[in-house]
Amino acid sequence: MSAASSSPTSAPAAAAPASKPAAAAPRGGARGRGGARQATVVLLGIVALVGGIAASMTLGAVHVPLADVWDSLTGQAEEGPLKKIILDLRLPRTVDAIVVGAALGVAGALLQGALGNPLASPDVIGVTAGAGFGAVLILLVFPSSIALLPLGALLFGSIAAVIVFGIAWTGANAGSIGRLILAGIAVQAMFGALTTSIMVAFSDRVQSAVFWLAGGLTSEGWAEMEVAWPYFLVGAIVAAVLIRPLDRLALGDEVAESLGARPRMIRLGAAVAAALLASAAAALAGLLTFLGLVVPHVVRLAGGSHSHRFVVPTSAIFGAALLLLGDTLARVAFAPIELPVGPFMVILGVPLFLWLLRRAV
């Protein structure tokens, strides 16, 4: 097509700018600057993540020097309580924090991108409230089956998502963003009310649910991760596949369709992946909703790019780093009292986020 000759007699064709020798020149400058800025942000995230891992493994009720941590991990340390602390308590907790933080960051990035709405987070599709209900149900009504807690959170988080998607993706105007968000808020209200009802009915046992609802990691080994890992895996794979299709939604559904994409399917896929990641995260760490909302915004503001190729993986790194650092700080700040990381991170994070917001938007 571009090779088609433009006849010299066609007057309108001559109206186009005759030559632009510098057309390719400005690329390097602008793109290079943007790319460098994003690379810096990614690098900062990785440094924070590595620092967070080191802090999470060494700090706590017992301070373990980094060298000893390394020896325990590589099997060079002799058997003993120190090795036990590292391998059975700190390692699972650190891994949980990385996975949960990354999952929440990615879930928020997927939903904000897919719905084109900066307020979107796993709350909006009802997943958080569903998972909360599932967990409280087990904690208060079936306290003897506490091992089922992650399963309960996963199950009801998924049920909430299925109800919301069922309503939003059927009938005329299926896949409308407005309908999805309204259905999500309604389902969220319903599960919230159910949770409150159980808490009123079993008010003598509420104590045990408070820590979970506040959101926080525990040092209980690998049991929860053994239940939740397939959800994380599938969610992560779907997220990776959707990165490029999500970028095609940026100019609206009609342009996306022009490019051969199917906006509704992309949105459904992103919402399903976010639901899997968020309910699995809730199963491990309770309700840490703030992370999913804020991390993608911080990443976009810091990197100056809305491309999902940048935002999704970087949100994973930042989410993991933030939760690791927050969790370590919550453990250490008022030791031996352990603060729940959820409220702690919100209290520390909101002023930072507001400051960033004022500067950037």
Partner: protein
Amino acid sequence: MSGPLLQATGVQVQIGEARILHHADLTVSRGELVAVVGPNGAGKSTLARAVAGMQKLAGGEVRWDGEELKKLRGRRLALLRAFVPQRPRVPEGIDVRQAVEIGRSPHIKPLARPTSKDRAAVERSLERAGATELAERRLHTLSGGELQRVQVAVALAQEAPALIADEPTAHLDLGASATLAKLLRSLADEGLAVVLVVHDLALAAAIADRVVVVSDGRTVADGPAEDVLDRRTLRDVWHVEAGLEADHHGHTALRVDWLGAPRHELATKETLT
């Protein structure tokens, strides 16, 4: 390769209970600019979306390059036609070049990175649409006319042989409309098949090889503007007394009896003065 690039016959579209298109025909060949005109709500945009494969057909047949639309999906369809929407979404945080790079995506294989060929195509599209100077600007800082040129650049990056534009001049001032009209005409002269949905009959008459009139979900006329947009059609379809004046050098005007005064009164006044 012989025959029209797009051939749509008897197209019907139903949205919910409402039948939007009853029977519409549309053909366009390479190097041809076809204007689709008609009153508000007649079904022009629906016809454009239907032939682009963006609206489910309730009946009729659409063929692109001889191939049935039903069998064309995703990337294959994207390499046959590009669609320029009436009101594109204008996201924050995206500059013009990034937007045009999105238009290139059908050429990039899954999990692959854009090649130097893709980057060259993006630059070519920017230049062709007169948007090279805008390349570093953020989308939400552009004027309406600039934004539509960028939309055309996004579509050109697709490098499809056909371009379908849905009322791209609807919200533009006179100068921006003229710039866009010139651009679309020159693209057709270079071999692109262009379908332009447009309200402005004078503009349509000036740049289109053929004009297709849509009225109440049916295509009621198809041909050169001077044949199709006669007084009777303007009266029957738009319910207005008007006449199109055109020469063959792209000068057109629509003389409209805006206030609907009976013609003889107008004539009387003219004879009096």
